[in-house]
């Protein structure tokens, strides 16, 4: 086994999550994604024991007659849902906190991406990956299966954050490959407006978009108390200043910007969550993908 940020403990917690598309259920009328296990043309895969929450009509009654136990038929087929993970890999993602310099935004983004892929692949959905980097777009076409998982992990590990956000012209593969009604999870810091722009345009173009914003503790608390030279990793621009005098102003302005961003996502119908680097990784996933008994109502 190579690099895998999804630890066994994390994997156990991921069991409770379910990725569901709001849009497909709305457009295709009632549980398209959910109903993959039944209907014509299905290939039988396996029986499994009945679990509370399974619909009674999925129980194989003939088998029950023979074995006196409840079994549920499970089948496999191509999922109509493709999950695309769009990871911002611009230089601003390299930022880490002074308290934990080994965990950058990008590391958290990679781990979240791996978790989403894990959940989606377990559901049998197809998963693809796009990493937005100025010079080279990392692109993994959507596919299902455990080999896809290996491939995603392989490519995720190699992503390095550098430069800015790619220009519009370089984003063609994004528009070509991500089909309408696909589910897109955008991971990034959203400090540069280019990535939120992309997310809103994708949402406007009938893609189901979810956004997870990765913020450093420095942006939430601004814990500096001495003289600093703040350097923007993307532009290289530097701002010397006394952190104590800058703090209140920054927190107010940044909070306002965050509210504006959230409002914008809300208007565009983008479900969003914020992950701050010192918080548990699973929190934004729970917020977005919590699986109720009904499923796609997150």
């Amino acid at each position: 086994m190579g690099w895998d940020p999804v630890t066994p403990g994390l994997r156990a917690q991921l069991r409770g999550l379910r990725i569901a598309s709001r849009r497909s259920s709305a457009l295709r009328g009632g549980g398209q994604h959910r109903s993959r296990d039944k209907g014509a043309g299905l290939e039988f895969s396996q029986y499994r024991g009945y679990e509370p929450g399974d619909e009674p009509r999925r129980i194989d009654w003939k088998l029950y007659a023979r074995s006196d136990r409840f079994f549920v038929r499970e089948a496999e087929r191509d999922s109509p849902l493709a999950v695309w993970i769009v990871l911002d890999a611009s230089a601003s993602m390299t930022q880490a906190d002074e308290a934990r310099p080994d965990v950058s935004r990008l590391d958290a983004g990679k781990a979240l991406a791996a978790c989403i892929a894990e959940v989606a692949l377990r559901q049998g959905d197809r998963v693809g990956l796009v990493a937005l980097r100025e010079d080279a777009l990392v692109f993994v076409p959507a596919a299902a299966g455990s080999r896809q998982r290996e491939r995603l992990l392989f490519d995720l590990e190699r992503i390095r954050a550098d430069g800015g956000v790619p220009e519009e012209s370089r984003l063609r593969p994004v528009w070509d490959r991500i089909a309408a009604d696909d589910l897109v999870v955008v991971l990034g810091d959203f400090l540069d407006p280019a990535v939120p722009d992309l997310a809103t345009r994708l949402a406007a173009a009938r893609r189901e978009v979810l956004a997870i914003q990765l913020l450093a503790v420095a942006e939430r608390d601004f814990p500096f108390a001495d003289g600093r030279r703040f350097i923007d990793p993307e532009t290289g621009e530097a701002l010397p200043g006394d952190a104590r005098t800058l703090r209140a102003e920054f927190l107010a302005r940044f909070g306002a910007a965050q509210q504006a961003l959230h409002a914008r996502f809300g208007e565009a119908g983008i479900r969003h969550a914020v992950h701050i680097l010192d918080e548990p990784l699973l929190q934004p996933l729970r917020q977005l993908f919590a699986a109720g008994p009904g499923g796609a109502d997150a």
């Binding site: 810091d189 420095a218 600093r228 102003e249």
Partner: protein, 383 residues
Amino acid sequence: MNPLLLFPAGLAALAALALPLLIHLARRQQQRPTVFAALRWLQARPRPRRRIRFDEAWLLAVRLLLVALLALLLAQPALLGVVDERPRLLVAPGVDDAALVAARSDPAVDARWLAPGFPSLEEAAPVGGVATASLLREFDATLAPTAPLAVLVPERLLGADAARLQLTRQVEWRITAGGAWPEPVTDAAPKLAIRHDATHRDGMRYLRAAALAWADAEDATVDVAESVELPAQDTGVLAWLHSGPLPDDVLRWAQAGGQVLLPADAEMPDGHAPAAAWRDECGDPLVRAAQAGQGRLLQLAHGLVPAAMPQLLDPTFPHALRDLLQPAPAPTAVAAADYAPGTGGLAMAPVPLDLRPWLALAIALLALLERWLASSRRRGAAT
């Protein structure tokens, strides 16, 4: 009690107070580069407020105090007028035992031996008779002018000198039985041996004549030889009238306790710094002397001819030479009753109490505190 500075110019070192201030300021201007992607929300205040601020106020305070105390140390602080007015009792060694017991029994009195260092009376009796008068003057001069002083002396007192005692205060002069007159000084003439070479044959005669003059007897002889053979060690004085460097065995003879008289053309061995021991009327040295082990090396400044050293023909020459070789001890014994000190001595200016040792201790403690503050873990967390 007046605090004062013995060297107020040392306070100029207070200028060094600027150093810790500068250090704590400089740290502020040193800005740590910080990667911060949300820079665009930070540019609201292009000019940070320029207000003088210091990091780590406690550490700065300790450092300022440390520098200030060091400057104070240079200024030599002292306290004037710290008076210790306890009654004092000085006991000369040799007093009668009953008086000693009585002196030890009074706790209100600071009783000490009248001996070098003024040891406490609780200690065993030191050797007495050494410069008693001089010690008494010293003790009186360093004592606060109002402190009463009593001196307990045996009726036969040793260590007096030629001047009468004149102290700054009225001293209670208690005389007890005890003390002993010193042994009479034996007045035997020194034994002189002369070893000479050919060139000093004439000069030798003056020394031989002087040595014969010391002896009263008609048939006295002097051990004279034109050789390098050493006389017996108990001879006392050897006139080594040879030119050139001093042989090692002669030097060893001197170091074993003898006195060696050298002519002007002999070479004093290295490592001996002779000082004038006998001067003529003009103050020019006639004989220089240097200590060598237990004994002495003496060297004549001029040749042993009357033209160079007219004192050779002086009738008092044997006497002067004898005084040089065997000085008569000064009389120091006195009847205590006749030696009671008078008043009218010149009082010394009061000696201020030097505060520097205490200040140095405070500085050392403060330096420790500074190191602790500067290296403690809380400091890393605070920044």
